[in-house]
């Protein structure tokens, strides 16, 4: 399996290292031609305004939308914003998932946090079911899901922080900043 990581800006290297730990070939995607031959794509954390602008400047928006029709895409944080249909402000989006996202939903950096999440879909990875420790950096919230999108994880107060729609996955936190490979394994099961 060969997975691409959008490398316009952000923590793409952390994703590549996670994929390599799982024995998967991982390549950087900066131009449309780099999508050829990939089985799936990760859009990393970073600044969604920067990644969106560069995706427009280098003609990636339409190729990414087409890729997402038939291939697995996972967006973490900024990547989740790009996958969404609506973020209440003008910014380039892929509009692939039926989710509405609020940027910087928890406030500024001093409000960034870590928390344990209960994610039943991850129980089949690893020896025994255990919580998923998630890192939120100036994180967005998935305000609502519609259509065929469904909620994958919430905070204790019910706010949505992960969603899935078929082979598309969005998380407002950063599995690539941890040593826990379960979320990457889950994504690979969608790309397979």
């Amino acid at each position: 399996m060969k997975i691409g990581v959008l490398a316009l800006q952000g923590d793409f290297l952390e994703h590549i290292q996670m994929l390599q730990r799982l024995g998967v070939e991982a390549v950087e995607v900066r131009l449309p031609k780099h999508l050829d031959g990939l089985d799936g794509l990760i859009i990393p954390g970073g600044e969604s305004t920067t990644i969106g602008k560069l995706a427009v400047d280098f003609g990636l928006l339409d190729p990414l939308r087409q890729f997402g029709q038939t291939h697995a895409i996972w967006g973490t944080c900024a990547g989740a914003i790009l996958l969404s249909k609506d973020i209440h402000r003008p910014q380039p989006l892929l509009e692939l998932m039926d989710i509405t996202v609020q940027r910087n939903a928890f406030g500024r950096q001093v409000n960034s946090f870590e928390a344990d999440l209960d994610i039943p879909e991850l129980y089949r990875f690893g020896e025994q079911p255990r919580p998923y420790h998630a890192i939120f950096i100036r994180a967005p919230i998935i305000e609502s899901v519609s259509g065929s999108a469904r909620v994958l994880a919430t905070l204790p107060d019910g706010r949505i922080v992960a969603a899935q729609q078929g082979h598309l996955l969005a998380t407002s936190f950063h599995p690539e900043l941890t040593d826990d490979t379960r979320f990457h394994e889950y994504f690979l099961s969608l790309a397979d």
Binding site: L54, V110, R138
Partner: protein, 295 residues
């Protein structure tokens, strides 16, 4: 399932999100919006860019919180602000107004000539300048969650940024070839905490994100720093002291993404207008250099 805030993973994590990006100095909300539209990953809010601090002299202090707040209101990307080396009350004020990152910066006039801020005490993360591995690891030991080269700010001359990047990265390469029994004496010789020397050897890189700063003025300068192995770049005076800031800013953003693609670098370097005038560091008296500030 309680939430933990201000952990080192969270502080360092924001810097990881900025990687492969450009952080731009801005002195007004309008400049901040131009920077955001050009693709900046963050802005550094300040009253004067380093070139003007140099030209005007006097004591350079933390900027007026009112200005920083206006810039925070103007953009959705992270906003950084500078405090003087060792001036922990300026840092407390910047934390109180909610900036996303504090730069304990040699560009401002130092408030303490022996000690830096104990950055572990803060919820907000810090970035600090460094000229070599020992200095970088001392700052991380004090709690810095991000490092940048010092370069020589406000000159438009990239030579010092290159020197500092090569020093840090070269020392890490030598460290990787060092047998473990030599690490304690090496830590002593460079004045760095032993545990961080061990961790740096294990990782083969600094334990935190490492940006280039100080003298970057063109897309080629930015790509040079990326090819040398830096994680991203700060551009201070180089953008808003140039002829066409919006165009130059966007070009530098593209150059950092496509730093390994000379055809794209050639394309984005065309017709950018006048660069900042710049000052040749080799002709600058020692007394005017600011990279030596920091201990």
């Amino acid at each position: 399932m309680e939430q933990q805030v201000a952990t080192f993973a969270v502080k360092k994590g924001l810097a990881q999100m900025l990687k492969g990006g450009v952080i731009m100095d801005v002195v007004t909300p309008e400049q901040a919006r131009i920077a955001e539209d050009a693709g900046a990953v963050a802005v550094m809010a300040l009253e004067r860019v380093p070139a003007d601090i140099r030209a005007q002299g006097g004591v350079a202090r933390m900027s007026d919180p009112e200005l920083i707040l206006k810039i925070m209101d103007a953009v959705t990307i992270p906003v950084m602000a500078k405090c003087r080396i060792g001036h922990f009350v300026e840092a407390q004020i910047l934390e109180a107004i909610g900036v996303d990152y504090i730069d304990e910066s040699e560009v401002l006039t130092p408030a303490d000539e022996e000690h830096h801020i104990n950055k572990h005490l803060f919820k907000v993360p810090f970035v600090c300048g460094a000229r070599n591995l020992g200095e970088a690891l001392r700052r991380i030991g004090e709690g810095a969650a991000m490092i940048r080269t010092k370069g020589e700010a406000g000159t438009g001359d990239v030579v010092e940024a290159v020197r500092h990047a090569r020093a840090v990265l070269g020392e890490i390469r030598r460290l990787q070839n060092m047998p473990d029994e030599e690490l304690m004496a090496y830590a002593k010789s460079i004045g760095a905490p032993y545990e961080l020397v061990v961790e740096t050897k294990r990782l083969g890189r600094l334990p935190v994100v490492n940006f280039a700063a100080g003298g970057i003025a063109t897309p080629a300068d930015a790509a040079l720093m990326m090819q040398l192995g830096m994680d991203g770049v700060f551009v201070g005076s180089g953008i808003f002291k140039s002829g066409n800031p919006a165009k130059r800013a966007a070009a530098i953003v593209k150059a950092v993404t496509h730093y390994n693609d000379p055809a794209i670098l050639a394309e984005v370097s065309r017709n950018l207008g006048e660069p900042m005038v710049g000052r040749n560091i080799s002709q600058m008296p020692e007394s005017e250099r600011i990279a030596g500030r920091g201990w």
